[in-house]
Symmetry: C2
Subunit: 114 residues, 2 copies
Amino acid sequence: MPDALRRFKSEIFQALANPTRIAIVELLSEREISAGELIAKLGMEQTNVSQHLAVLRARQIVVNRKVGSQVFYSLRDPVILEVLAPMRRYFHQHLKEALSILDEIEKAPVESGE
Amino acid sequence: MPDALRRFKSEIFQALANPTRIAIVELLSEREISAGELIAKLGMEQTNVSQHLAVLRARQIVVNRKVGSQVFYSLRDPVILEVLAPMRRYFHQHLKEALSILDEIEKAPVESGE
DNA sequence: TTGACATATGAGAAAAAGCGAATATTCTGA
DNA sequence: TCAGAATATTCGCTTTTTCTCATATGTCAA
């Protein structure tokens, strides 16, 4: 695969490589939401959320629609959700492992030297 | 969804948010490959590839197996490929758009000022 | 037009990622 | 044990990301 394609692909991953932006995409998976409502739901700085939206816009993950002074955001292409779906399965599995490791650590005898 | 889970998820995306690491995962999708062969195929600095492998290891995307002085890498969980698959569909679609825009630019009359 | 609201943009600081050079580690074979 | 091969790690340096503060833009209602 040519390098240009890999760069293109990695840019899309990068758009999702941030907890806030993942939260935004997940919120938008159900329905169109205004910038203001996103800010409220995320409980973050207006300016910061706006910048994350700019990133998602630049990568064309989301599109927007102005209604008066409000701006409504939605996913441009629901196929992006099909990327998130197997990811969910993937991390659930790994999270289970991570948790069970934590479990073992907690159950381990204290005098073992950890 | 709790923030910790989003952070966990975004870390996996971040592991894939780099052209070289995508190349590595794609190479490993077929079979186990040694570090040396990966370096050769990628045509990059040994030290750099090794660092990218460290990132993929830290995120547990890959696992390794030592054989003598060589180290063979493979995907820990093929489910990761199911994340890449819909991504392929997604970016193909968008790439088509991007290319058709390029097409239009090239076909556009020169005297239009571009 | 003015004031208030909703949203976007820009600048600058801090943190993280990426890279190459040098160095360390581990293994093998003589 | 020593030399050399394969791989990993550390260190500076540059670039990118993320955040906050300040400011700009656009819209509505009075």
